[in-house]
Symmetry: none
Subunit: 413 residues, 2 copies
């Protein structure tokens, strides 16, 4: 079975947003073994959406649209699907109930135009959307499967994975599957990683690709096989070879994040953490607390943007601050110790640096960052010099802090 995807939205044709849903859809279809041969993007125009659906219906077995299911007048996908297939729109009682309940729960009046979202082409099933009023549409019509999902990425992603793909599987889609595994590398640059795996890049099944991300490197192994177990067997030996060559740097795979891996290690070792941030401005605490359950080990963050706060709240020695400057090894170490004492945790991390674009000097340029870690009284510190815009320097500094913490926890008894 072959799929085609249609993305609607004038904002896509004006280049105002990047179509990240397209990549997500294709990844998930590949994982499910469904081939996709074409994506089409059209604006919020009834005639053009309708034509795109009809053309796709001539070529593909599964036609998936994304976007245009909202309550406003330029949300036209349901009308376009009905016209393309010459089916009437009918009110679906379950959908109507879902929409009314959405507003009731929030104690807000329902604008009448939201009821348009309860209209479905005759014979279509609604797909549940737990986060919004835009239910998806699923329809089998003349041996073809049609599905419409809403455009907001969080809703699109959840409904694709939890509603549409299981349905497509029931309908028998997916023969040969493509499986990828991504190994995640910290603490090495792209060319160093490439040197270590260069001979492995020439394979055909599985293939190996290097992807440079901000502050980490990903190695993607991709195998084709008739089922997922076969694909995993193709991937396994290559994965082991890479892990052996890069064992001090491979922190995880696939959906793993450095903050998640570090969180697991903290949980397993029963250690608690507090962080004191200057130039990263809360990003390290934000990343750590993105992990569900992080409250088990993360106690406190202090964003000390002001030197007085460093002295008053974190207990940094004012004389050292004055003589060495806020961006110094000594202050990073004192912040790590200070926040650990304040929060009563096993580990404290201190970060101080210059995120830019202003504030740099020849001796202390933009991008200079000191990072310190204090674990039960044992301290270490590192100096980094990052390039890039403000937000990238903040990100790279938190990446380095997590790398330092990961290395420490791996070595910790």
């Amino acid at each position: 079975m072959q799929a085609e995807a249609i993305f609607t939205g004038t904002e896509l044709l004006l280049g105002q947003i990047i179509n990240t849903n397209a990549a997500l859809l294709c990844q998930e279809l590949a994982r499910a073994g469904i081939s996709i041969f074409r994506q089409v993007v059209v604006g919020d125009n009834l005639q053009r959406i309708k034509e795109a659906i009809q053309e796709a219906g001539k070529r593909a077995d599964i036609i998936i649209t994304c976007g245009g299911l909202g309550p406003t007048e330029d949300d036209l996908t349901r009308e376009a699907l009905a016209e393309a297939l010459e089916l009437p729109l009918e009110e679906n009682p379950l959908a109507k109930e879902h929409i009314i309940r959405f507003f009731t729960v929030r104690g807000r009046p329902m604008p009448p135009q939201n009821l348009k979202q309860a209209l479905f082409p005759k014979g279509a099933l609604p797909l549940d959307n737990p986060w919004g009023t835009a239910l998806g549409i699923f329809l089998k019509h003349k041996d073809k499967l049609y599905a419409c999902l809403p455009g907001p990425p969080s809703e699109f992603s959840k409904m694709l994975k939890e509603e549409l793909l299981p349905l497509l599987e029931q309908y028998g889609a997916g023969k040969e599957i493509i499986l990828s595994r991504v190994l995640k590398i910290t603490g090495l640059g792209e060319s160093t990683v490439e040197e270590k795996v260069r001979d492995l890049l020439k394979g055909t099944n599985p293939t190996l690709a290097i992807l440079a991300k901000t502050g980490e490197i990903h190695l993607r192994i991709t195998a084709k096989a008739c089922d997922s177990q076969m694909a995993q067997e193709l991937i396994k030996p290559l994965e082991e070879q890479i892990r052996e060559r890069l064992k001090d740097h491979t922190f995880g795979a696939d959906g793993d994040t450095l903050e998640g891996v570090v969180g697991n290690l903290l949980t397993r070792k029963g250690l608690t953490l507090a962080v004191a941030e200057s130039c990263t401005g809360g990003l390290l605490a934000h990343r750590l607390t993105n992990i569900p359950g992080s409250s088990a080990y993360f106690r406190q963050g202090v964003v000390a943007y002001d030197n007085n706060i460093k002295v008053k709240v974190l207990g940094v020695n004012a004389k050292i601050l004055a003589s060495k400057g806020a961006v110094s090894e000594e202050v990073a170490l004192a912040m790590a110790r200070g926040v650990r004492d304040l929060a009563g945790t096993d580990i404290g991390i201190g970060i101080t640096g210059i995120a830019g674009p202003g504030g740099g000097t020849p001796a202390k340029p933009v991008g200079l960052v000191y990072l310190a870690l204090n674990c039960q009284g044992n301290a270490q510190v590192r100096r980094e010099l990052f390039q890039g815009p403000r937000e990238e320097i903040k990100w790279r500094a938190t990446q380095s802090a997590l790398d330092m913490l990961w290395r420490h926890l791996k070595g910790h008894a």
Copy 2:
């Protein structure tokens, strides 16, 4: 003149890369006044690329392809274009010279398959590529313009701007330009915004569109005109009308962010800020400190994930914490007051809630958030109930905090 774009590359259909070239192309075409009604993505398959070119040639005046101009066997765009238009491929001497020189300058031997890149459909012009061997292709054929550019984003971007767009202009494309202005709305839902501007959505030049983002709504005004001043004059009256109708909600336009607008107001009024976060885990401090120069008004953040920290560092009354619970109006107010006292700022913000996915109860479900603001002793608090995954709840909570702060600063003398 209307354009259509075709992107080739199996990696796009596997979802392994995100098609950022599409957004760039559309932005540049809009700026140049060339309308684009459709984008198509196909894999590295001769037949499918050829069909996509032929279909586009039936609808559009300008057909632009991206990708598939390299030297390898799965680079098929030049062959597909020649077959689609039934033109022979001929070696172009200038192109051959360019390729040979590329290798000579680098002191590397030229692999023989690179000479394939010197082949052009009869009558086509090469477009210069200073960074690679893949020259672009430009061809006028039966009143249509065909252009092929390489896929690597840096080459695509440079050649689009410096080679293709000037050529299209010479051929008379883009008499009209398209200019957009985006007004940004906070504190109202999508359907309420639509109700307020519904009569304005039917305009044709300028057009108005509603885009729902996480925690804010964007209204995009788009005008077509023969130059940018004319377009601005078309946009201006509609913008004024919208600003008048939504004056308590329009916080900015185009590149403005709520944290940036709030930062400007704090600077202008000479007020300082500190924040105490529980469920948002540092994200509010992170967003505030993403603004260059934020150290002028942002003094301190405290991420109080542990109840003891709320008591010890922020001075929240332990009895109130025990009787009302950490997620309560009273604790949010105490956190705002506590962090303001601690940092000695004019304003303190306190956020406490349940980001999920665990930790919810029937009385205090996941997504429940209390936000408080204390400015020079005057306090206010709001209660919110958000839906979505953990990171979206964190984001929406910081959005609400910034909305509260924005409203307060607008009213502040």
